[in-house]
């Protein structure tokens, strides 16, 4: 059967979901190029099969899986990245478009969150996934997803200096 998706459809979908997906992928890899590779692989595979991104939970599950496979598949690379992480607290390429100091402080606080909390926060805030979608993507219950989100916000509040 002929592919009914037009040339521009994928561009629209990528421009909408892409920044959030790259941000999501960067939780597992430090370099922007690696995160882009992961998102590219996931997006292209996903698009070829579905020609839409309505099932966002599945798209995020695909990105996560490819990222984890990549880490598992190349342990030497993972070790190198672990060294890089240990050596530098912040990655070289910015993950966010920061406009002022308060946002910079907030981004710094985000980096100090536990991975499982940050993951849910990124999916909820910058990708606008529902708890049901987050739960489906991560293979956890909706209650767990909601709890991690609340814990993440509570942790952020503790980390951030009082205003």
């Amino acid at each position: 059967m002929e592919n009914v998706a037009t040339h521009e459809d994928w561009k629209v979908c990528l421009s909408e979901a892409g920044p959030g997906l790259v941000l999501f992928a960067r939780q597992w890899v430090q370099s922007l190029a690696d995160a882009e590779d992961i998102v590219q692989e996931a997006f292209v595979r996903f698009w070829r099969r579905n020609h839409n991104i309505t099932n966002r939970a599945l798209l995020y599950a695909t990105v996560r899986s490819i990222a984890l496979d990549r880490i598992r598949g190349d342990s030497r690379r993972a070790r190198r990245e672990a060294v890089v992480v240990a050596e530098s607290e912040h990655s070289v390429e910015p993950e966010f478009h920061v406009e002022d100091d308060s946002q910079r402080v907030l981004v710094g606080a985000l980096d100090r969150l536990p991975k499982d909390q940050r993951e849910v926060l990124v999916m909820k805030i910058w990708n606008e996934l529902t708890f049901a979608e987050i739960a489906a993507a991560l293979g956890i219950s909706q209650n767990t997803a909601a709890s991690r989100y609340r814990y993440a916000l509570a942790s952020l509040r503790k980390i951030l200096p009082p205003q």
């Binding site: 421009s15 920044p19 922007l32 599945l58 599950a61 899986s65 598992r72 907030l106 509040r157």
Partner: protein, 172 residues
């Protein structure tokens, strides 16, 4: 009431870094390429196949146990016949009191299945399927035991098995 609404609003003001033009160009060229179908690896066992193979394995183990058991039973009468031939004329003995007779055969005594390693091997994009599947590999040690209540002899067959399950991912 949500106590974190102010913090959520603050977080939403930060925007993720925009996509690089070079990245979009890479995706475009990748999408433009003809799709190459990935053959499913031959060492992946589908659940239905695994069930069949598991039954075959169990059947073979049971057959081996039966063969051993039959061998034991064949040997027992031969020994008793030899003893009878070498013995002098039987001496009349009083009939023994009826006792609880234990069966002189191997009876199933138990079976265990220990999963000692389970690994999530990530997603698999199989041919002709819209949704990816998660590949779970588990390694188990299965042990079947038989016991002969009459002689106290026991027999156990233990064998490792490896199972690869393909679980379809369903989201919403």
């Amino acid at each position: 009431m949500n106590d974190f609404s102010d913090l959520e609003a603050q977080l939403k003001t930060i925007r993720p870094a925009p996509l690089r033009e070079s990245f979009i160009a890479r995706v475009e060229s990748e999408i433009a390429k003809p799709e190459t179908t990935v053959e499913e690896p031959r060492n992946v066992i589908r659940p239905a196949q695994f069930r069949t193979r598991w039954v075959i394995g169990l059947g073979l183990a049971a057959a081996a146990a039966v063969l051993l058991f039959v061998r034991v039973n064949f040997q027992a009468p031969r020994d008793s016949a030899g003893t009878a031939a070498a013995s002098p004329a039987p001496i009349a003995k009083p009939a023994p009191l009826p006792e609880k007779v234990l069966p002189n055969s191997f009876l199933p005594a138990g079976s265990t299945r220990v999963v000692y390693h389970k690994r999530d091997e990530g997603l698999l994009f199989a041919q002709n399927r819209e949704e990816p599947m998660r590949r779970l590999r588990s390694m188990t040690q299965e042990t079947l035991q038989w016991k002969n209540p009459a002689t106290g002899a026991s027999l156990s067959v233990s064998y490792p098995s490896e199972q690869v399950e393909l679980v379809p991912i369903s989201a919403q």
